[in-house]
Every structure is written in structure tokens, then in C-alpha cells.
């Protein structure tokens, strides 16, 4: 094969290859743009009866979202309720076993006991958004409450205002931070990290508007409750089998 023939044949390969390559590149760029927030409205369901308090969700959340490992910073956490026969109720944070294992004490004194996973409720009527003096926190079109950490001045008003204690001040950036339902995952069609790793399916994630989904089925088949309904925050995290002692 002489050089001319070789170049001619090569050009037959290269030109369509280049065209296809450009097309592929455009396609992947379009896939990222394809996400349409107006088509989604996210919510979560939590089956209290299924939680075994293993704390894998807490660990996975910290890993996925680079939350500081110290036991004061949580985007999601698990509470253990211990209601004794004398009526006292103690609540303990299962922090992914950072502070060691949980002791039960004398079992004969227990009336009932259970674990309750908690996270930002992504309220439809979020108090944190109302109080932010610089408008750094807002509700997205798909119903997730986010924080703009460039705009946040770290005044802690939102941390005070959240009735669920779901926010914390990032110790490095000195800005407010909170659960985003793993926004970077759900917009790619993945599950939030806590839902992904939960071994007992205690957490169910989905679109509140979809007609058939695990979340919709959960909502149809269970008696549901939200945390602190009297505050009219309209949480999008629904609990089944929730005890009245849970605040």
C-alpha cells in the first residue's frame, strides 16, 4: 500500500469517527442538561419498625458528602428512644458508633424502645429559608432546600430556626450546611447514599408525585405521620409506625 492509498483509507476512518465522536460528546453534554427539575418533586419515607440502628446511613452520609467525622456534625443521624416503665424517655444519638456502642441498661425497666432515623425534612414551608438574612438558602424547583455556601455569612439564624435540628455550621467554611437528599446523586437518577446502604429498607426515597413507586406504595400502605406537624412546616419526610414520644 502506498502512502496516498493509506491516507485516503485513513481519512475514510477518521472523518466519520470524528463526526460520531462529536455527536457522542454532545450526547453526554445533553444528558447532563436533560435533567428537568420541574418534572420531579422529591420526598422520603421512613419505616421506624425496620430500623436496626446500625448507623450505616450516618457513615455513608458523612463519606458521600464529606461531612466532618466528629460526632457534632450530621446531615442524617439515628436516635434511640428508651421509654422506661416509670415514664422517663431518654434519647441517644447513634452516631455511626463514633462514640462507641450503645448500652441498653437493665432491660426489665424498659417499656418500649426503638430507633428513629432523622434528617432534613426538606419542608415545603421551610422556616430556615424565611429567616436567612442574605437569602443564601432556598427551595429548588424539585423541592430540595439547598444552601449557597458562597452567599452564606454564617450567622446561624437558620440553625436556630430549624425545629428539627437538621442544620450545623461547617467548621471549616463557617457556613451553614445540611442534608441535600444527596442532590448530586438524585439528579443523576441515583438514590441518596443513606437509602443506598440501608440494610433493612427502613428508608424509601422517591418522587412524591409518581403514581407507582416504592415511595408511593409506602405512603399508600402505611399510617403516616410527620415530625412536629403543628408547626406547619409541611415536611416531605414521612414516618410510619412513629411513636408519640418522638419529637
Amino acid at each position: 500500500m502506498d502512502r496516498r492509498k493509506f491516507v485516503t483509507k485513513l481519512s475514510f476512518l477518521l472523518v466519520p469517527g470524528g463526526v460520531i465522536g462529536t455527536f457522542l460528546k454532545n450526547a453526554s453534554a445533553r444528558a447532563a442538561e436533560l435533567y428537568n427539575p420541574s418534572k420531579h418533586y422529591y420526598g422520603m419515607g421512613i419505616q421506624v419498625n425496620k430500623c436496626i440502628g446500625c448507623g450505616r446511613c450516618v457513615e455513608a452520609c458523612k463519606e458521600e458528602n464529606a461531612v466532618p467525622k466528629d460526632p457534632f456534625y450530621f446531615r442524617t443521624w439515628v436516635e434511640r428512644y428508651l421509654i422506661k416503665k416509670d415514664g422517663t424517655c431518654t434519647v441517644q444519638n447513634i452516631d455511626g458508633r463514633i462514640s462507641g456502642s450503645v448500652e441498653t441498661g437493665n432491660e426489665k425497666e424498659i417499656m418500649r424502645s426503638f430507633f428513629v432515623p432523622k434528617l432534613c425534612n426538606q419542608c415545603d414551608n421551610p422556616p430556615c429559608v424565611q429567616v436567612c438574612p442574605v437569602g443564601a438558602t432556598f427551595k429548588t424547583e424539585d423541592g430540595v432546600v439547598l444552601v449557597d455556601d458562597n452567599r452564606c455569612i454564617g450567622c446561624r439564624y437558620c440553625i436556630q430556626a430549624c425545629p428539627y435540628g437538621a442544620r450545623y455550621l461547617d467548621p471549616e467554611r463557617e457556613t451553614a450546611d445540611k442534608c441535600t437528599f444527596c442532590y448530586h446523586r438524585i439528579t443523576k437518577g441515583m438514590l441518596p447514599a443513606c437509602v443506598e446502604v440501608c440494610p433493612t429498607q427502613a428508608r424509601i426515597f422517591g418522587d412524591v408525585r409518581s403514581s407507582a413507586s416504592p415511595l408511593t406504595r409506602f405512603k399508600r400502605m402505611n399510617k403516616l405521620h410527620v415530625l412536629k406537624p403543628s408547626l406547619n412546616t409541611e415536611p416531605k419526610v414521612a414516618y410510619s409506625d412513629l411513636d408519640g414520644e418522638v419529637r
Partner: protein
């Protein structure tokens, strides 16, 4: 020397100077500040974009099935609903670069025990053990395959169907009692369990055989059947598979 300004009061000029500086600053800010800090829709969009661009660390279990056969083994076992990354940790790096980055492989007893230690707060029926008495110091994976965990001896008696009750009973003072001690189980119950049912004790005197104050059985909590609990049957207050005693 008379300047055109000499009639303007000195104080006014100073106010003007301050005013000019303020306007200058405002103009400077207008052009220097990025639009993402001034315009709400812009900064909202910028935040959403930044949030979406954050790195994913958990790959999601569907990715694992492409290469790993264990995925199929797991599909039918009790761990079928567990995500691979529940035990193996975040594996996005491994999915993208399988030879370089390796996920964790927990082999120690401490790992399994985090979910499977008996804890009163755990839901009834969840498989739990007492690590102090359940083959102490032996790693769990010696006997149980984590991708398809089973009890070593497959339950073929009552526990095959009533596993939850059997596990609950294993922690109760009644652990030594066989099911047949209290239940009369016809052989046909194993064939058509809903048509031919096992019996349940129907009267207080049955429990009284061990727990009445004149019972000959030793070391059981004793009560006076005549005064204790009035009209109620024993199981209306005490769950026989895990009797609560004060």
C-alpha cells in the same frame, strides 16, 4: 484668587465629595461583583449547578453486577436487599478503576455484630445473636457466607416457618421449652398449615402447671391463680415466647 466655586459653601463641597465617593463605590461594586452574587435566579442556578457537580462516592449496587458473580448469589439470600456498598464501603473509585482502587472487605467479627448483636431496641424477629456466647472470637465468615447467610443447621421443624418466634424465644426464659410443650401440632399442619392448625393453650391452668403457687416445678416464678390477673388469660399480659416478668 476667586474661583467660580467661591460662593459655594465649604460644607456643601464636602458633602458633594462624599456623595461622589459613594456613587463611585456603587458603580465599582456593580461592575466588580459577579452577577451570581447580585441576581437571585443566577445565584440559585449557580448553587444548584455546584451542588450537582459534587463527586459521587457510592456507585450504587447495579454497577457491581456487571463484573461480580457474587451479585447473583446474593439475589436469593437473606441479604438480597443489602446494597454491596453497605458492607464493602463506597466503591465509585473502584467501579471506575477496578485494578487500582479496591473496596474494603470486612472479615472481622466486629463488623457483622454491628447489625446482629442482640439489642432490645431492635425490631422483634430481626436475626440477632449474643456475641459473648455465640462462638466467641470466631470470625462469622468461617460458618456463614456473607453473600448468602444461613443458619448452620437449616431449620426443618417449627422454625422453618415460625423463624421470628424461634429467634425471639431463643432470648427468653422459655428457651428450653420445645414448641410441643405448649402446642399440640398435628402432623397434617406441616402439609396444610392454614387448614389444620396447631393448638394454643386456652386456659390459665395450663400455664399454672409450672407457675401456680402449688406447682411442683422448681425455680419458676409462682403466682396464686385465684387472685393473680383476675379474668384475663395469661397471654393477654405475658407474651409466652418472651415472657416479661417483674
Amino acid at each position: 484668587m476667586r474661583t467660580p466655586f467661591h460662593k459655594i459653601p465649604d460644607s456643601l463641597i464636602r458633602i458633594l465629595v462624599v456623595f461622589v465617593i459613594l456613587v463611585g463605590l456603587a458603580l465599582l461594586l456593580r461592575f466588580l461583583l459577579p452577577s451570581s452574587l447580585k441576581d437571585r435566579p443566577t445565584f440559585v442556578a449557580a448553587t444548584v449547578e455546584r451542588e450537582m457537580a459534587k463527586p459521587v462516592r457510592y456507585a450504587g449496587s447495579n454497577v457491581c453486577a456487571d463484573c461480580h458473580e457474587e451479585f447473583n448469589l446474593k439475589k436469593t439470600g437473606y441479604h438480597r436487599n443489602l446494597s454491596c456498598e453497605t458492607c464493602h464501603g463506597a466503591a465509585r473509585d473502584h467501579a471506575e478503576n477496578p485494578t487500582e482502587a479496591k473496596p474494603t472487605m470486612p472479615r472481622l467479627r466486629e463488623f457483622c455484630v454491628r447489625c446482629h448483636t442482640y439489642n432490645a431496641s431492635r425490631p422483634t424477629g430481626f436475626p440477632q445473636i449474643n456475641p459473648a456466647s455465640h462462638n466467641p472470637l470466631k470470625p462469622c465468615i468461617v460458618c456463614h457466607n456473607p453473600h448468602d447467610p444461613k443458619p448452620l443447621t437449616v431449620p426443618h421443624e417449627c422454625g422453618a416457618c415460625h423463624a421470628e418466634i424461634e429467634r425471639t424465644k431463643s432470648f427468653s426464659p422459655h428457651v428450653q421449652l420445645a414448641c410441643a410443650t405448649c402446642h399440640n401440632v398435628p402432623e397434617q399442619h406441616k402439609v396444610s398449615p392454614r387448614v389444620i392448625t396447631a393448638t394454643i393453650p386456652g386456659e390459665r391452668e395450663f400455664c399454672g402447671k409450672c407457675h401456680a403457687k402449688d406447682s411442683q416445678v422448681k425455680e419458676t416464678p409462682k403466682i396464686d391463680l385465684a387472685t393473680h390477673g383476675e379474668k384475663y388469660l395469661c397471654w393477654q399480659c405475658h407474651y409466652p415466647h418472651m415472657p416479661e416478668v417483674d
